[in-house]
Symmetry: C2
Subunit: 257 residues, 2 copies
């Protein structure tokens, strides 16, 4: 995976699995990884010293909800918490943009998943021209400092961008209109959003350029296929946990040798 | 299940599955229920109008953690949140006893699980003689009003007491000492706790007597066997969701007839 990413061009990055990857084999592997995640989460929770923050970003209809279900269902919910960041409330807007985010970072032993995040404050706000470039720059720096703070306190921050192609996004948004079981997801703004891929592409590329320190890179995940996307995220999480290698704490029992 | 429970005698209530219940059959049924729960949770979340609060109480080693894993793993974690209430912090103690609880009640579409709850404030506090009987009475009334408030706002409150026998509890606490993979759960106070079953029995019986309005009964779950306990809780939750019968909302699409 890339660490720093000067001048990313999203149109040149893959949105589908590499040719040599087979779907059936990947699904088998995915089942194994899910079992491993169950075990690693238990150790992280028992150890009670470190934590993981999974940040999920992606354009509309890039499949964030489905990914959360595919990767995190099955893990003990006592150790996993998912937060969706929607439009800020009045009270949240009365504070700095990281205020509501900071309240939801994981404590020792926990895995938190952010479905959208502090990055929205340099994405949708820029596309809708609510902030200027100078403010965006300030926020990039603030985000880098914030993520550094978390990592220094034992929270590994994993950032995933679900890279979906303009064509696939269009198709999925159209499905919300035409598939009765998906119509409840349709929002009146969706038609408008469908045309915004190029605008979002630009602000995302700017995020990757400015918020990718070596200690906290973005993982750009090919996301036109749900099975491959979930696999990539689950595998990265598993590998991260294996590196952390949390262990069951010493017994508090005192007894004769 | 019982609704109001005047003068419950915990020593006379079952701690094991009824004779006619078969373990294998129950486990098969449990798999089916877990699939149904996945579907119902999705509807509750999509409907986004009502919510469920699951309150879990039980003495030490009654198996609350394991129950949460057995019943709620597999459900989309985006719609489920588990909160453990431990000893209150200084800031929490500077407020009324429901202050920290109220902040964690479920919003529309959510299922929250309380691993211990506001009931600790009329349980451990009484056993340790931190409050007198008059204060306990006040708190019973406050709890009933609080749960009524939640239910009026569309939150179904499901209260489960995991009824474990004195013998089984003793055995499980001993296992924390003798089983290397469980030693990390051992707390220095455990030896002391083992002798407190009768004291806790008494304050629990008082809770069942005073906090069981017909609209919000306690479910007393035989809990010496993990498979049966999980089944009882899962089944009650499934039945509750089926009664609520949440539906996918109308499409927001407007189009010609």
């Amino acid at each position: 995976m890339n660490s720093t990413l000067p001048d990313v061009d999203l149109t040149k990055l893959p949105t589908r699995a590499p040719k040599h990857v087979h779907k059936d084999e990947t699904k088998r592997e995915m089942r194994k990884i899910r079992e491993e995640l169950v075990e690693w989460q238990e150790r992280l929770y028992a150890e009670n010293k470190r934590s993981i923050l999974v940040v999920l970003q992606g354009m509309d209809a890039s499949g964030k909800d489905g990914l959360i279900r595919r990767v995190f269902s099955g893990i003990n919910p006592q150790g996993v918490r998912v937060y969706s960041f929607k439009e800020p409330t009045k009270d949240e807007l009365a504070h700095d943009f990281l205020w509501r985010i900071h309240q939801r970072t994981p404590g020792h032993g926990m895995i938190h998943v952010f479905n959208r995040s502090h990055y929205e404050d340099v994405l949708v706000t820029r596309v809708d021209k609510l902030i200027d470039d100078a403010t965006a720059k300030q926020r990039f720096a603030a985000i880098n400092h914030f993520e550094e703070l978390l990592q220094q306190a034992g929270t590994t921050v994993l950032k995933f961008y679900l890279n979906v192609s303009e064509e696939e996004q269009e198709e999925r948004l159209a499905e919300r209109v035409n598939n009765p079981s998906k119509q409840w997801k349709y929002e009146p703004g969706d038609d408008h959003k469908a045309g915004q891929w190029p605008a979002y592409r630009q602000v995302y590329e700017d995020v990757f350029k400015h918020c990718s320190p070596p200690s906290c890179p973005w993982h750009l995940v090919p996301s036109d296929q749900n099975w491959y996307k979930a696999y990539e995220v689950a595998r990265t999480l598993r590998d991260t946990l294996a590196d952390l290698n949390p262990t069951y704490p010493e017994s508090k029992l005192t007894r004769p040798e």
